[in-house]
Symmetry: C2
């Protein structure tokens, strides 16, 4: 049986017993974006490095990934260090580096931090009910020229899909940057923390919807909070998640985006926030 392309993209090998925090991986052409790998897969690789670590305590609660530079196609090294382990929480710093094949010099391309924790059952409540939408009523499958990664997902917008006319006519009013969409791996794949981290970044730039002008835009930093444990993710299976994204403000070269991801049972699995660079 062939590996799922997402699992192939997540493949990491230990760098050696003298460097227990470090793994080697390779960028995946199957998840290529316009000028580097899809940022969702980079976030997922950070999750994967943490979860591979023999000293791991608990499961992911929070992840912040800073895209310092576009990854070049090819190999990279990722180091995930548990800098502080408490009774039920653990703090991680993560660094992804690449070596220039010509100069031989190594440089930081991504930094990240993560928190993992042992969850205990407590009083719980969801204040963000899933919008009443059905995947069968959603739009056609999304794909985007020059973004191979979009072919690795089945994404169907219920609201706020890509503009049909790039005419620069500004959308106005409340929720002008709101997108609601269904998303799953293509082919379908059992949900886990890595794929959830990746799907949290599966929304095209809000500025394209808001203006709409196809200006260059790219995520600078993304933070994802995981609100479910591995058992809940397993129960979510491989069916679509409902994703919702909106911006709060576009201000002199940077806008923000807040996203929610629910499974079909209506459980809010993740909330995710990012700050995105855009050109005028």
């Amino acid at each position: 049986m062939n590996k799922h392309p997402f699992d192939a993209a997540m493949h990491l090998e230990a760098a050696g017993s003298d460097r227990p925090d470090t793994w080697r991986g390779e960028t995946s052409p199957a998840y290529w974006n316009m000028v580097g790998p899809f940022g969702g897969t980079t976030a997922a690789i950070a999750v994967r490095a943490v979860m591979l670590h023999p000293l791991l305590l608990g499961e992911p609660i929070a992840l912040t990934v800073n895209y310092a530079a576009a990854l070049a196609a090819g190999v990279f090294e990722i180091t995930a260090t548990p800098v502080r382990t408490n009774r039920s929480t653990q703090h991680w710093t993560i660094e992804l580096r690449q070596t220039d094949p010509v100069t031989g010099s190594s440089s930081v391309v991504t930094t990240a931090t993560a928190v993992t924790a042992v969850r205990r059952t407590t009083w719980s409540a969801n204040e963000s009910p899933m919008p009443q939408l059905d995947v069968v009523n959603a739009g056609p499958r999304f794909s985007f020229d020059n973004a191979e990664w979009t072919n690795r997902y089945d994404i169907r917008a219920a609201r706020g899909g890509l503009p049909e006319d790039w005419d620069g006519a500004e959308a106005g009013g409340d929720d002008a940057s709101l997108t609601q969409l269904w998303v799953r791996d293509e082919p379908p794949r059992q949900l886990d923390f890595a794929s959830l981290a990746s799907m949290s970044d599966a929304f095209y730039p809000r500025v394209w919807l808001r203006r709409p002008v196809r200006v260059p835009a790219g995520t600078v930093s993304i933070t994802t909070y995981f609100h479910a444990g591995s058992a809940q993710l397993a129960q979510s299976g491989s069916t679509h998640l409902l994703g919702q994204a909106r911006a709060h403000v576009f201000s002199n070269g940077f806008f923000d985006q807040t996203a929610h991801l629910w499974n079909e049972a209506g459980q809010l699995l993740a909330t995710s926030h990012q700050i995105v660079y855009y050109k005028n």
Copy 2:
């Protein structure tokens, strides 16, 4: 003239010319919280260390602070390293350490990352208009027993103040965890990036409003996006900001919080997100 207590809390001294990324500081009793310094001041110190650095490019855009352990009262060292400098953005990793006076061993108490950038004037739009509220109609000044830091702010709730009855009767419906409040330094102080980072954490735990039961709760990780430049912050003066906070979900020991901060002119200066530990 005496220093403002916030400036005193922000005081950092260079650790030495052989360690150009490192500064020494001391926790401030004036901003003490229940079991350590107010987390807002720790975030502010991270901003301060970055902004003191001679290699700084631009101004803060994004900041993530992970509270790995409560700071002990006393001295600390903070290291802010510019790990990647691009044409208009710069990426920072930050670590705050303390040395155990008995064992002499040093350990990580806080990790952080930051992005700074040179902003350029672009098309801009605010999708989060300020709620129509007036500070003169707000409630009485907030203070909280065993939380000295609350005396360093003038905080007045317009909606969702601290519960009057800790009776455990759950608030229901939409926006059950919503708080809107006015906040400024006390005594008043000119707004800057450090104080804005601090005020982003000036909301009491959402779980107290939602249940309401005074369970132990503490921020694990906070991410703040700055949507204004220093000139806009200067224009904001020293008057109140309007802050709004709400949770999206409370799930097995962790809830999230999203906050907005506007100045009196209605400009959205910052959005901030955190994940918070709570006990049952």
